[in-house]
Symmetry: C2
């Protein structure tokens, strides 16, 4: 079989006996009004159709300096929250004509670095990313290249850059107060230990509110390492079950921690809500199958993803004022 080169703009120019430039103009939709005669326009389009011409976006990108692609870096796309976030980013990007390259960091600094390098080399027009603990320097590589960026879910405190996050502290405090006002006294917090503000704020929101009501018991604040979470959560539940005082409620800082934790609660024969109540930061689409009362915090994921894209596209188009959005979350109850 012959090695068939793809049909290019030149081929159709040759066939019609016109120049590349003309063909390019009509095919890229810039033949508006005066430029090219309607007749020529039609001929070109027909020929393109007939020869089954497909533009080579790579060549176009090299020429224009725009790839119409944005990079997205999340922790782990198989995680429900990030999967949802990425989905909405993609759908919104599609509206603007952008394609998305997604990569995962698994909360690892080297992977974050690789992701940034790859995306930059691929000449993406902008990057939306979930900051990794201690990775500000890596993020700065992006700004040094003057590529627009938006942080989501978290942000580096001393990094003057766009972000879209939620009121982690406020809602965590609110959730805690809700528990307290229900008359619960011994409230535990199980949260990842890494130093990204989304998490530290969640923990701190609980702690501050507990302290305010003189209910803080440091023994009930459990820090979990991401890498050994399964084991550490198991241990934490075990500890709480055997704590000198009877525990009234557990606040789980994220979906994954919640699922693992609740699973171990059942294994330890802790009944929900009779023995302990539970609160989960994040909505889980399978709450329905749990059939227990759950207090949870719902983030406006769709809005966050859309806003991140909106900001990014604005900046790609030239704006350069930094935008920092803090979305409100909702405290929800399943009874």
């Amino acid at each position: 079989m012959k090695k068939k080169r793809k049909v290019s703009i030149q081929d159709i120019a040759d066939k019609l006996g016109v120049s590349k430039g003309t063909v390019s103009l009509v095919l890229s939709g810039k033949a508006k009004g005066s430029r090219v005669s309607d007749e020529m326009c039609k001929k070109v389009k027909e020929a393109a159709e007939e020869m089954n011409y497909q533009p080579n976006e790579i060549a176009r990108s090299l020429s224009t300096g725009k790839t119409m692609t944005i990079g997205v870096i999340v922790t782990d796309i198989s995680n429900e929250f990030f999967g949802n976030l990425t989905f909405h980013i993609q759908e919104q990007a599609k509206k603007y004509g952008y394609t998305v390259i997604t990569t995962n960091t698994n909360e690892d600094l080297d992977e974050f670095n690789d992701a940034v390098t790859t995306l930059l080399n691929k000449q993406v027009d902008g990057i939306i990313f979930v900051p990794v603990d201690n990775g500000q320097q890596i993020a700065e590589k992006i700004t040094k290249r003057h590529i627009p960026l938006v942080q989501v879910d978290r942000f580096y405190p001393n990094f003057k850059a766009n972000y879209v996050v939620v009121d982690n502290y406020k809602v965590s405090a609110k959730a805690t107060e809700h528990l307290i006002k229900k008359g619960l006294k011994k409230i535990a917090v199980i949260c990842y230990d890494f130093d990204v503000n989304a998490l530290t704020e969640r923990r701190q929101g609980c702690i501050d509110m507990l302290r305010q009501y003189k209910l803080l018991d440091p023994g009930l604040i459990k820090d979990i390492r991401y890498q050994d979470q399964e084991e550490e959560i198991k241990q934490a539940i075990h500890d709480l079950k055997n704590y000198p005082d009877k525990i009234d409620a557990i606040y789980f800082c994220s979906r994954k921690v919640f699922i693992t934790g609740v699973g171990y609660m059942y294994k330890n024969e802790i009944r929900i809500p009779e023995d302990m109540e539970v609160v989960c930061f994040d909505k889980i689409d399978s709450f329905a199958i749990a059939n227990i009362p759950i207090i949870y915090i719902e983030q406006p994921i769709k809005k966050m993803g859309e806003k991140a894209v909106d900001i990014l596209v604005e900046q790609i188009k030239g704006s350069d004022d930094v935008k920092q959005y803090v979305f409100d979350t909702k405290l929800m109850y399943i009874n």
Copy 2:
């Protein structure tokens, strides 16, 4: 601020007083052995480092005709199954040095078509996709361009192309037989109605086994339209609850159907497993919070993703024998 052009291979060639070609050779790692002197090699690398050179992959792609990018088309990346699948595809692709562009079809033919066109125009080196009902012609656009492709999760029966799927029929039959052997008689099946083999096989596996044991009751085979699934599943559960005969078990054809369905079972005060048993095609990572007995079918998602990438990369490298893998699944029990 000056508009700083990025440093190119030319810049570093100029600085060193050598030619572009030489620089290109060492920077793309092709200076092996004889070609370039070690001394030159070192000088180039140092200069590149010092000037903070970053290769422009777009230019490289235009030149080589390879983008080192693969396209992935799934139904919906926010779906747990596809999120997981995509994650493993990405991780495996990373090992081979490939980047991944992901797109969602939402089971819609037009979106599928757009995705294919976009990926093709972006000159991806290969495409892994989840076939959409009735989309074979669109898939053929890929082969017409001689771009390697791998179907996952499903495949078009008359399309001579690679695929990686599971034994949907066999395991569904097996699950059904398991229920029957437990003494259950009235077994319902709730499944999407669209015509992709993964689903039709699941349904048929149940039906055939029920018929074999003379237990088939057509009134218990419920087809659900993807678009109105919430409403239709609700209705199906309602119907089953009020069926003349008492229903013993429900087989749910996918994760989403299961979650929605079980939720409505609770709302209808159907107890699991006392009133009815449930089986779910797919493992859900939050089964733990349900705390009920569940029979489920676990697919080797990681292996499927990895195998899909392996096949694709092989074909990108030149192989052209079609590979069709059917992975075994496992019937699992949570008690």
